[in-house]
């Protein structure tokens, strides 16, 4: 906490020139003998660290410190739909238990909705100390307004130190609104979370399209809010024995009613769009005949993946053109792409090199695709794939 102060008495035109050149955001300028820092400043404080000493200083201002001992517990917001808990919730619970251990904090679940008893019982199998239920007909549908009121009530009564949300469509709408209500920090899409002894949550997230990682803390506000994407952390294991308790919470109806009305729900039209797919199985000329595609199709089904292909297979008429990856097809950025019998031409690579994980099978160990892939399997896909399919279907090794 603090601000930058320019000591004009130390500024000469020579020094000013150095300082202006130093700022990576071009926020320092020199006009009429005055060194100015403008709104481009990002408070990186490079001018303090690397500038001519004493010209710009950082003036610390002591903020009033909060009593962190008043805030206890790691709370997970339990998103659910149509009677099913969103799997990200179990992953958050797995991480919450780890974080809670550091300072011996309890793990809480906040469950919001209507007719929740079955879901609440189920959540007791994942190691939470307490599941807090706000059960009301007014909460049967997700609406940011009333759901934020519920979180406000929960935080005011329970005082959790941390609140974790899935970075889902609902989580991304709800968490910021609730964070703003408490004027506390929220870190989106954390990929690493650690707990300090002083209960500060260390939150690491990618920025600038993943080109930079930022480590973020919320040192003087509680609760500390964060969101985490699905499939980032490992799921808590379900134990046979339920543990912990269910606590029924109540809130006045006027806090739960909303002037937002849901008029109807529409099923999303299912179109072929490999660009949106999270997992893709792509095939190339290594697949010898059309009926062999069944193997790839089976793999795709087992992984919940979309099937895609290279240009030659479109030309052969084996696929709908909407399934082509590459410069003349679609650009994809899935979490996982499995390439089968694809050599990896420049044109193909241009359409898929943004994938987070690339696994490739090819016979030619010098194939270009192996310069791109994170996992390279050198061999005959007609031999490897059946073994893999067998394992995926529960076969023994």
């Amino acid at each position: 906490m603090g601000s930058l102060k320019v000591h004009q008495e130390k500024v000469t035109s020579e020094i000013a020139e150095k300082m202006c050149a130093l700022c990576p955001f071009h926020a320092i300028s020199y006009e009429d003998g005055t060194l100015k820092i403008d709104a481009g400043c990002r408070m990186c404080r490079l001018c303090v660290k690397n500038g001519v000493p004493g010209v710009v200083t950082f003036e610390e201002e002591a903020a009033q410190e909060i009593d962190k001992n008043l805030w206890n517990g790691i709370a997970v917001f339990a998103e659910w739909e149509k009677g099913e808990v969103h799997p990200v919730v179990y992953e958050l619970l797995g991480k919450a238990k780890e974080l809670a251990e550091v300072n011996g904090h309890p793990v809480y679940v906040l469950l919001v909705g209507y007719e929740l008893s079955r879901i609440a019982e189920e959540l007791l199998h994942y190691g939470a100390d307490c599941v807090y239920c706000y059960d009301s007909q007014y909460l049967s549908e997700f609406k940011p307004g009333p759901y934020t009121n519920v979180i406000e009530d929960f935080v005011n009564k329970i005082h959790p130190s941390v609140m974790m949300y899935g970075a889902t469509v609902k989580g991304r709408s709800l968490a910021p609104r609730a964070a703003a209500r408490f004027q506390t920090g929220l870190t989106a899409d954390c990929t690493v979370l650690k707990m300090k002894k002083n209960t500060d949550l260390v939150q690491i997230r990618p920025a600038f399209g993943g080109n930079i990682m930022a480590q973020i803390v919320t040192p003087n506000c509680r609760p500390q809010f964060c969101t985490v994407r699905y499939k980032v952390f490992s799921s808590a294991e379900r134990s046979r024995q339920a543990s912990g308790k269910i606590e029924k919470m109540g809130l006045a109806d006027e806090k739960l009613k909303s002037c937002v009305k849901v008029q109807r729900e529409i099923e999303k039209p299912k179109t072929i769009d490999i660009a949106q797919a999270e997992v893709i199985v792509a095939v190339g000329r290594g697949v010898k005949s059309r009926q062999d595609l069944a193997m790839a199709q089976e793999l795709a089904e087992l992984l919940g993946a979309q099937l895609a292909c290279t240009r030659p297979l479109i030309e052969a008429g084996w696929f709908d053109a909407r399934r082509q990856i590459g410069l003349s097809g679609r650009t994809v950025k899935p979490k996982l792409i499995i390439t089968l019998g694809i050599s990896g031409s420049v044109q193909f690579a241009a359409g898929m090199k943004g994938a987070e994980c690339i696994i490739s099978i090819n016979q030619d160990k010098n194939a270009d695709i192996f310069n791109l892939a994170h996992y390279c399997f050198v061999g005959d896909l007609y031999e490897i794939l059946p073994k893999l399919l067998c394992r995926l279907k529960g076969g023994a090794r």
Partner: protein, 267 residues
């Protein structure tokens, strides 16, 4: 209908590097552009103006250079551009940014509808819209695919959820964040560029806000602090497997397990 669209200037590319010694972003020579997600919000606003009349203002927060995105929006068809700029906002996190924006919006005028892009390409958090709505004390709906109808002060919108779409009715004033690819944004018009060449961009600073307390903005007003930034660990060493098909099939399966693309209990 009086509409305000919140936009942002972002680096032209996400290919930025960290200076390992100082931990500061190297952004020299990186060109700036309008956050591409904002184009859909501007287009939605212009469509509503065509249908129901009214005006479309655009607002942004940033240094003086950020005027460029306001001009671009005006060339697309917006009526007025407002820049919120003040050194006091330096080092703002999401909460401080949203708060400063909400103060700027109050100063800029009275609006029926506030539109934001779904997220930005540099911060990538998708949080500023909902936080602003909270600070402004109005309802918000995120991930809006389309505004279907406006009648009186009631709005019908189509919202994207994970597994379905919902048709919602709500009252204005409210804030919507507009989904990517919700529409086809028009290009800036050369004619408008010529006509609005000398357009004045209004500037708002801390002294124009109703809350002038410096401690509520910038680094000081930010609940979160960036402790450090660092380059990501590159998974540079690729794993290469050769050998018996049996072994390779097993290894493949292990990779899928490890990366959580399949779970053990599924089998």
């Amino acid at each position: 209908m009086e509409i305000l669209v919140c936009i942002k200037q972002v680096p032209g590319t996400t290919a930025v590097e960290v200076d390992e010694e100082t931990g500061v972003l190297k952004r020299d020579g990186v060109e700036a552009k309008m956050n591409p997600f904002d184009l859909f919000a501007i287009e939605q606003a212009l469509l509503l103006r065509e249908k129901y009349g009214g005006k479309v203002d655009v607002i942004t927060m940033g240094p003086g250079q950020a005027e460029a995105v306001l001009r671009e929006a005006v060339w697309m068809g917006a009526d007025r551009g407002i820049l919120i700029s003040d050194r006091s906002f330096a080092g703002s996190d999401v909460a401080a940014t949203s708060y400063a924006l909400s103060q700027g919006v109050r100063k800029a005028g009275t609006y029926d509808l506030i539109l934001c892009g779904k997220q930005t390409t540099d911060g990538d958090t998708a949080q500023v819209g909902p936080e602003m709505a909270e600070f402004l004390g109005i309802e918000h709906i995120a991930n809006v695919e389309m505004v279907l109808e406006a009648e009186g002060n009631e709005l019908t919108v189509l919202e994207n959820q994970e597994n379905c779409q919902r048709q919602l009715k709500l009252f204005m004033p409210c804030l919507l964040t507009i989904e990517k690819d919700a529409n086809t944004p028009r290009l800036p018009s050369y004619k408008r560029k010529m006509k609005t060449g000398g357009l004045e961009i209004e500037r708002i600073g801390l002294s124009d806000f109703s809350d002038k307390d410096r401690r509520h903005y910038g680094l000081e007003g930010s609940p979160t602090q960036v402790e450090r930034i660092f380059p990501p660990e590159r998974n540079a060493s690729c794993q290469k497997y050769e050998g018996e098909p049996e072994k390779l099939g097993n290894l493949f399966y292990q990779v899928l397990l490890e990366k959580k693309f399949v779970s053990e209990n599924k089998v």
